[in-house]
Amino acid sequence: MSFLKKLFAPKNQKTGIVFIIEDNATYSKTVEAFIKANFSEVKNVRIFPVGETCLPELDKNPDIIIVDYLLNSKYFDAESGLEIIKKIRSQSPNVSIVVLSSQQEIDVVTQLVKTYNCNYIKKDDQAFDKMKEMINTFYKS
């Protein structure tokens, strides 16, 4: 999008782009399929198995970034999800971030929500229901 278009674009304009930052290929493709099956507003879903590779792409202005909290369970040298969230926030302070994790420690969850203004969803059998509700709310806003 050109500079002038960005400048005069309505503040709530959605791009229809969603990023998924997840190193588990089955899980990331499941989330991608879920989004495509439920949200016609989303035109482009991009998957980043390594968090660092999404940072140069933030200028595409994704509406929502779905990110795994641990993230380096497969690519051991990759940065953790928390480090990536910090970097995303510094570059894109207003993007909606949804953190997915099987993380159970309440302190971690609280930190994510309060400090980094993220939504948190536990990876369990209710995860997709909660994601649907969250994304629905976003696209209706």
């Binding site: 588990n24 089955t26 899980y27 099956a37 990876k123 369990d124 997709f128 229901d129």
Partner: protein
């Protein structure tokens, strides 16, 4: 759909998530059937090396895979293995849990294949 929550695997949750699209569910099942054995192998290799960090990572990684189908028994075993990995002790116990994991995962895979074949 008949109640498919009686076994280790539920397809109803993922079918709802995919808005009733069985074609998408079957793609995801196909991915799962490829990935689950790879995850099990990675965990076994980590155990053979005896490296705590690797045990934690590989068990955590597989938790995401099995969570898609609501396989709570598999999630629980993986969670126990991960927590024991964090303690850096009880490698023997983790290896026993790994045997249970392989058995349960094998049964879950057969169940999922059976459900797909019976047009769940």
């Amino acid at each position: 759909m008949a109640n498919d929550n009686l076994g280790k695997i539920s397809l109803s949750t993922i079918l709802t998530a995919m808005n009733g699209r069985k074609d998408l569910v079957e793609e995801i099942v196909s991915l799962f059937l490829q990935q689950a054995p790879q995850d099990l192998l990675a965990i076994t290799e980590a155990l053979n090396k005896g490296e705590s960090e690797e045990i934690i990572r590989t068990t955590h990684h597989m938790k995401s895979t099995v969570s898609i189908f609501g396989a709570s028994n598999l999630s629980q075993i993986l969670h126990e293995m991960e927590e024991l990995g964090k303690s850096g002790k009880d490698l023997g116990k983790i290896k026993l849990l790994n045997l249970e994991l392989k058995k349960e995962c094998g049964e879950a895979i057969e169940e999922i294949k059976s459900k797909i074949n019976s047009n769940y």
